[in-house]
Symmetry: C2
């Protein structure tokens, strides 16, 4: 009898064949994604050191309790710190190392991205000179205490008080109610020695001047015991076992005194007598939040990159369903349109967000320079932009991780597939750093404000309006379309799909028309007091997608410089960007169709009952063209098997062997007969056999 | 100084006030949902016994390892069995008890819903008489072994073989490859003594006659050790810690012999000599799958009910943002349209799915009677219907649980909120019992077949077509709209929103027009060989939603009988059903707009640039009208705090106290100083203090 075909052996053949089919130079695209070969090599160097350290082995992670994961996380942090010393890592190397292990969700992350930046931005020079170095070297560990049991995004209503006592030149930090308990604070539960506390400042006489920041020691720096007046602890496990290694914590303060100098007073302060010193640039303090939000775009890109790599690799080696005539085997599932039309847009969003995040970081650096010289002119627009982007990228990357996981069918639900953990760890990003629905309101409000500025005065001349429009910030450029009543949206034509520049121009224009139409309508319904329930979300999305698509247009324009004019790589990445634009347009169809902004070419309109068919066929064709490049485009993200920690995303494609191997480590498999047998299973079966009676022959 | 307002005290006041506002008789609606007072009382009686048993306490569940959860699950199962004996529960009571503890995810569920029904439906009378009682009393425990490492939904390509050996009148069960390993089998890993194995039947001479079912003993009924030739184990943890208590397992068979009589041979068999006996009604064996799928509609309803109860209760007591002029407090978040417009549709889907599931069970019982008399005329339509419904209800209930969780902002991400676990446990339902994308293809195929039957013959007379249309099965009724070219969709008008019957008629008709339009277009593009990538999903959704909306129309018609003509309850539940219809219509807008099937009343079209504004305003108004009933409508689901296991969904509204209390049990809080301190945190900080140097005064 002949030996049966073993799909597990086919895995490696299929992966090698797919890799051989890629026409792009993978390392050229990888260097492009990493913004230069040097950056990639740095990551590679740091990453290899971590990956080869046994402590950073991830294989037993799914079997540990939360407490064990917390303890392991601290051991990893300490080891990373030791490695930094051993290998003389630069601060950039250390930052890189932390980003490489970001999937561990280490408590120290909160020290690095929340506590330290806020402290640096807002501490007085004296406080900075006293604690800056200690914080930078992690000689003390900190957290940022903002949200409370009773209040989150609405910072203005936080209840914790900081009452100034002129007699002793101290502040008294106090939690007056149960709901004023600080809650959800990352690294507070068991780790931090210090924290920056948001509390409303109460001046002598009882005047409340709103929330301000205070540097408060939490634990003894020798014994690690909470200092008097602090009740500290961990708030318990997170949904879906997310972020298990982080000790999100609570804190209650009972009349805790701190010296006056421990107020973070760079932008606001109190005189010795207790007079409030008005901050010269109150808005400067927003800088830290903008910094965190702009980093979220890049993170979302690399997160989507992981999901795309795993799911596309698995779909390449998984064979199921109809027979492929060429091989006589079942088809690789990635060849099904229902599958690749889900996965390739995820890949496209990853490429776009990585590029967009880089552009945004540059804008943020420029803003920071402006702010340090007291120039706040760009702050409002940057605020709107980061609010909209934060919502857009978190919403879509959360969904992309889950779409990728479900695309892997049954095996996608195994913890060893790796994407379930990514989802659980990422899903709170819809809420933290500004709840997405609340941020949408801010985008709406800013958009209406700009609209009213230009169109609110019926007596304004066209020339006046045009002048106002010329000065429109980046997030409002689409409003220019409403100035000339003779302007019309372009015809929605997307053939040939090869014409990257022409298609992208059309899509960007359509998305700008959509933003303009929605904002105009929203201005009217808000004036009438009759907005509908979803208007805010639709306007914010439209405005942000118009902005992003225009940036993508610029990124397409830069490709010849970055990847070489006329190269295969520039061509393929250009198509990836266009896929992003076309699928964004598809998701905007309700708006475009209902506002009658979507006009199909005449020939198309006559040949089909469905005017959006042309768009969908263009997406389908683009996906088919990109399909042979899919493995190359994901390899270019540069993730190792250790990075991905996924049995289904292994580089060599041998997914079945990987699943089998990992299952053997399951604790339930360490004894052949479970201890539940004698305790529960056997008694129940014996009872059943007894009642089933004599007929029950075994 | 006056005592500050404590939001945690306000919680109970807000909840009591909301409850007082409800105008409906909650127990009347509850009895309606439970299909009669007797059913509710039965649930209450069984549920109280379980809830008061300390073993069924859920408070420590979030802190247990998977292994501990498995062992606990078996102890619960044994205890439930003891309670059944003690309280002399009927089989219906026992079934009720299992449904009450469904959130525990017990392995025995697979015995109850997969192993036993398949065995009963397909075992020969002899095998049934030998094992039927034992199985019913759980004197042996079983599982259903279908999917393999290499194959899931595509049953036809399973690799496990069952070779008939005429000499000994035995079958030899064998796993020829790694990928033929049975994988994902619930309750196989550590629990089951027996199983029903899907294997392809090989006759003497090597002829493969495809997959059949075999009853195979797996473990010794005394020692629980695997029998020779079986390698058994657990496949490891699931994504997001889902279904942790279930031992999804693997099995490899090495030339395992079973007696010929252990083939499940009710519908197919082998003679002693090894000749295949063709089944008289091959399709009869689908019955079991249809049974499981029809149960999924009801489950989805009650799952949505849990999510709605928790999220609506929390939104009622959470106050945040703008000040409510009446109370001087911040507004209850449920009053924000962005929130209640997300939550009330979830409530509506729960009401609809509960009613729909009941109707479907009745249809299934009728089908089972038909099948047992050999009548398969309704089987094909029932197959399409359950395929479409399974995809529709799992997709939307998964999304609803997650939407409800995210609506609760930061606290929704706490494990104590309860909805994270529901999501993790439910999300595989998109894949099991038929992968949703594959089921969509079956709906599409069946829809095209019916379309072609009526419209495929250009020579057919209108009378012929009409005759064919008169016999259309329930899932294809919408095709009648295409028979008379003079028919036009109704005007999309939804005022006044009180006119439940008129609005529902309009929506149902529009959804049928959409199905007709999409199927007609799909028939054309499939003929041309140019379907787009998402056509299958859109057609399947359109066809299923047309069917469901028509059923909802019938449910609205039954309300006067079930809840009394002109009663407050019938009025409110009617509006809940209409909310379902309107939001379904909103989600169908792209199709309706692109096919030009959506025509707004003239006055509306002239007053706004946005023709779908009328629909959105109607949804908004309906939500506002239902808002005062929201707590009553969720109370009517009858869930206790023990059922919900959610700090945010507590009946009395005291959510902050509940969160605080549960956090105190967190294992990390059992020592003030973590053991990670001496091991890792301190060494790192000391290194940092050293390098920070002399300036580092603490």
């Amino acid at each position: 009898m002949h030996s049966p075909h073993d799909a597990s052996k086919q895995n490696a053949i299929d992966m090698a064949a797919a890799r051989a089919k890629t026409s792009i130079n993978v390392s050229a695209v990888r260097d492009f994604l990493y913004n230069g070969a040097a950056q990639w090599q740095n990551r590679e160097r740091v990453s290899k050191i971590l990956a080869s350290d046994p402590l950073f082995n991830k294989s037993q992670r799914p079997f540990l309790t939360r407490k064990e994961l917390y303890i392991r996380g601290q051991a990893l942090t300490n080891r990373l710190d030791e490695l930094a010393e051993t290998h003389k890592w630069t601060p950039e190397d250390i930052q890189l190392a932390f980003s490489v292990v970001s999937d561990e969700g280490l408590p120290v992350t909160l020290h690095n991205i929340a506590f330290e930046p806020v402290f640096h931005l807002q501490a007085s020079p004296e406080l900075l000179s006293q604690y800056g170095d200690l914080i930078a070297k992690r000689g003390i560990l900190g957290c940022y205490l903002q949200t409370e049991l009773g209040h989150g995004t609405n910072v203005g209503r936080l209840e914790t008080t900081a009452t100034y006592i002129p007699e002793t030149r101290e502040f008294e930090i106090h939690s007056p109610t149960l709901t004023s308990t600080k809650w959800w604070i990352g690294a507070l539960g068991k780790t931090s020695t210090h924290g920056v506390v948001q509390a409303k400042l109460i001046l002598p006489g009882g005047k409340d001047v709103g929330p301000h920041l205070f540097f408060v020691q939490l634990r003894d720096t020798e014994t690690h015991q909470p200092l008097p007046g602090r009740v500290l602890g961990d708030i318990g496990p997170k949904a879906m076992a997310g972020l298990a290694a982080i000790d999100n914590g609570f804190a209650r303060f009972t009349h805790v005194r701190i010296p006056k100098s421990h107020m973070l007073s760079k932008f606001a302060g109190v005189t010795d007598e207790g007079k409030y010193v008005t901050p010269p640039h109150a808005k400067l303090s927003y800088g830290g939040m903008l910094y965190i939000r702009s980093g979220m775009v890049t993170s979302a890109g690399w997160l989507g990159a992981k999901a795309a790599t795993v799911a596309i690799r698995y779909a390449t080696v998984r064979r199921q369903g109809t027979l492929d005539p060429a091989s006589g085997l079942e088809s690789q599932v990635i060849t099904y349109p229902s599958l690749h039309a889900r996965l390739l847009p995820i890949l496209a969003r990853a490429y776009v967000f990585i590029g967009l995040g880089r552009a945004l970081s540059r804008s943020f650096d420029a803003l920071a320079r402006d702010l340090s010289s007291g120039n706040t002119s760009q702050l409002a627009d940057m605020h709107v932009m980061t609010s909209g982007l934060k919502t857009l990228v978190t919403t879509s990357s959360i969904q992309d991780v889950e779409t990728a996981r479900r695309s892997m069918g049954g095996h996608g639900y195994s913890a060893f597939a790796g994407l379930g953990k990514l989802y659980a760890d990422t899903v709170p990003s819809a809420t933290y750093e500004g709840e997405n629905y609340v941020l949408d309101q801010q985008v709406l409000r800013a958009s209406l404000k700009t609209f009213t500025l230009i169109f609110g005065n019926p007596a304004a001349s066209p020339a006046d309006k045009a002048k106002l429009a010329a000065g429109l910030p980046g997030t409002s450029k689409y409003l220019r379309l409403l100035l000339d009543p003779s302007l019309r949206p372009p015809t929605a034509s997307f053939t040939p799909v090869d014409d990257v520049v022409s298609i992208s121009t059309t899509v960007i224009s359509l998305l700008e028309w959509r933003a303009a139409g929605l904002v105009k309508e929203a201005a009217q319904t808000h004036k009438d007091g009759t907005p509908d329930a979803t208007a805010t979300q639709r306007v914010a999305k439209a405005v942000t997608e118009a902005f992003v698509s225009a940036r993508v247009g610029e990124m397409i324009g830069e490709l010849p410089v970055k990847l070489g004019r006329g190269t295969r790589e520039a061509g393929v990445v250009g198509k990836v960007y266009v896929l992003y634009l076309l699928t964004t347009l598809e998701s905007a169809l309700v708006d475009l169709l209902s506002f009658r902004l979507y006009v199909t070419p005449k020939a198309e309109a006559e040949s089909t009952a469905d005017p959006v068919r042309g768009l969908r066929l263009a997406i389908g064709q683009l996906c088919k063209e990109l399909l042979p490049e899919a493995i190359g485009l994901t390899d270019a993200f540069g993730y190792s098997d250790w990075d991905l920690d996924s049995s289904l995303g292994v580089y060599d494609g041998r997914v079945y062997e990987a699943l089998w191997a990992r299952a053997q480590d399951e604790p339930l498999n360490q004894t052949e007969v479970t201890e539940a047998y004698e305790a529960s299973i056997k008694p129940m079966m014996l009872r059943g056999r007894r009642t089933a009676g004599a007929s029950a022959k075994l």
